[in-house]
């Protein structure tokens, strides 16, 4: 029952949603709207699970004095501060100009943006080390990448040709390659969804 009931629910809900797509009758629309509405509310509670999980892991690290527990204190401090600032002014806390948003802009944003900016260094290093014209396929990849990168560089008289070539690469062979990939994605996603609906794929249920 603990495994059969969820599989039955998935099957009924899944089949109903597929049928509903083809029958725009008012009664189907009525159930469809309520289903969308309720899923969003369930999603809110599901997202809060992640917060609980993070808090539990950090507290456990501090309690057991695991290596690096001092950093977990910083995590909990940041979390507690944001929660305090986010609630003490009511729903006005989330508007621009509050201390809550100041922390978002001057602490979260620079750290997050800088972490991702490190990728610029890593991609240069990776390109230097790994981007060698070892085989014909690697050469095709390398030449294409160079043409696309050169479109940002003013090349004087040959700028026009390079711009046209880059545009052609993006709209013809690149488009063809990506289309084949998207078709594969569509077929794979459809197969996975049908496997979930028919109860063949049950990984979402976890273990007993």
């Amino acid at each position: 029952m603990r495994r059969q009931l969820p599989i039955f629910i998935v099957f009924i809900a899944g089949i109903f949603m597929i049928i509903q797509y083809f029958i725009p009758h008012q009664s189907f629309e009525f159930i469809y709207e309520y289903a969308m509405d309720w899923i969003i509310i369930i999603g809110i509670f599901a997202m809060l699970l992640g917060l609980w999980s993070l808090t539990r892991a950090s507290v456990s690290k501090v309690q057991t004095k695991a290596p690096g527990w001092g950093f977990s204190v910083m995590t909990l401090f940041g979390l507690a501060l944001m929660l305090f600032l986010g609630f003490y002014q009511g729903n006005k806390s989330i508007a621009e100009g509050t201390h809550f948003m100041d922390l978002f802009w001057y602490i979260y944003t620079p750290i997050q943006a800088t972490m991702f900016s490190l990728l610029a260094f890593y991609i240069a290093s990776a390109a230097y080390r790994a981007f060698k014209a070892r085989t014909i396929l690697a050469t095709i990849l390398l030449v294409t990448a160079l043409i696309i990168m050169l479109r940002l560089i003013p090349l004087g008289p040959i700028s026009g040709i390079n711009q046209w070539l880059a545009s052609w690469i993006l709209t013809v062979p690149n488009m063809a390659a990506k289309r084949a990939i998207w078709i594969g994605v569509g077929l794979g996603a459809t197969a996975t969804c049908l496997k979930i609906i028919f109860g063949i794929e049950r990984a979402y249920m976890g273990k007993d």
Partner: protein, 275 residues
Amino acid sequence: MNFYERLMQLDRRWVYLGVAIAVTIPVLFPFKVPVYVTPEAKSVYDFVENTKPGEIIFLAIDYDPNAMAELHPMAKAIMRQCFSKGIKLLISALSQNGPGMAEQLISEISKEYNKKNGVDYVYLGYKPYFAIVMLAMGQNFRIPFPTDYYGNPLDSLPMMDGVRNYDDVKCVISIVAGNIADYWINYANGRYKVKVALGVTGVMSADYYPFLQSGQIFGLLGGLKGASEYERLTKQEGVATEGMSIQTVAHLVIIGFIVIGNIGFFMSKKNKVKR
């Protein structure tokens, strides 16, 4: 180890230093480079230009601070164009840390054009499960968003009078980093046939040309280059236009490193064959 083998095995921190210098020098000594406008960027611009004052465009701010560098200038340029033409904006933020991005954008740009919340724009805010939110908005915006970001009921806002779902907006322009873009195409355009244009990060831009060709999206802005093209079209030179000259130098340096690596590879291979 001979010279060419050493060339192939440079410490990565020299590469980091090269990139850092390549980016820092043009920031300190700026110069201009020409910006070539692509047809896919012009499509977005032309669509907004042809939208009448008073009509509504749905602007989806679906990125986090990690993509801010490329997408914030794009969003600013589009917002400025809309407000300058008297186009009303319905704004949502469906990525986890997107609400802060949108809030900053709105507070900065609305002040420039003296636009009022509830009259000239409505900021819906965030809800989880963006795919379901997109589907629900196709029925009625009030299903996922009974109130706006600030807690005002949608029915109390003058702009939302008679605005029910995607049928009442001209198009959706999604400024997005991540797979939310796929769902705008699949769910909003696929099911409800609303016109969709995407402003995506550079990394993603090459992936969406099939949807451009098939007509599932009517325009595509790709990364900082797309933002600079839009700034050029709207005649507002900003961070993106400045960034293009820095991109030029950085790209030259990275191409240089690739060439050095390949020279080292081929010459080492040649020397090994000789031996």
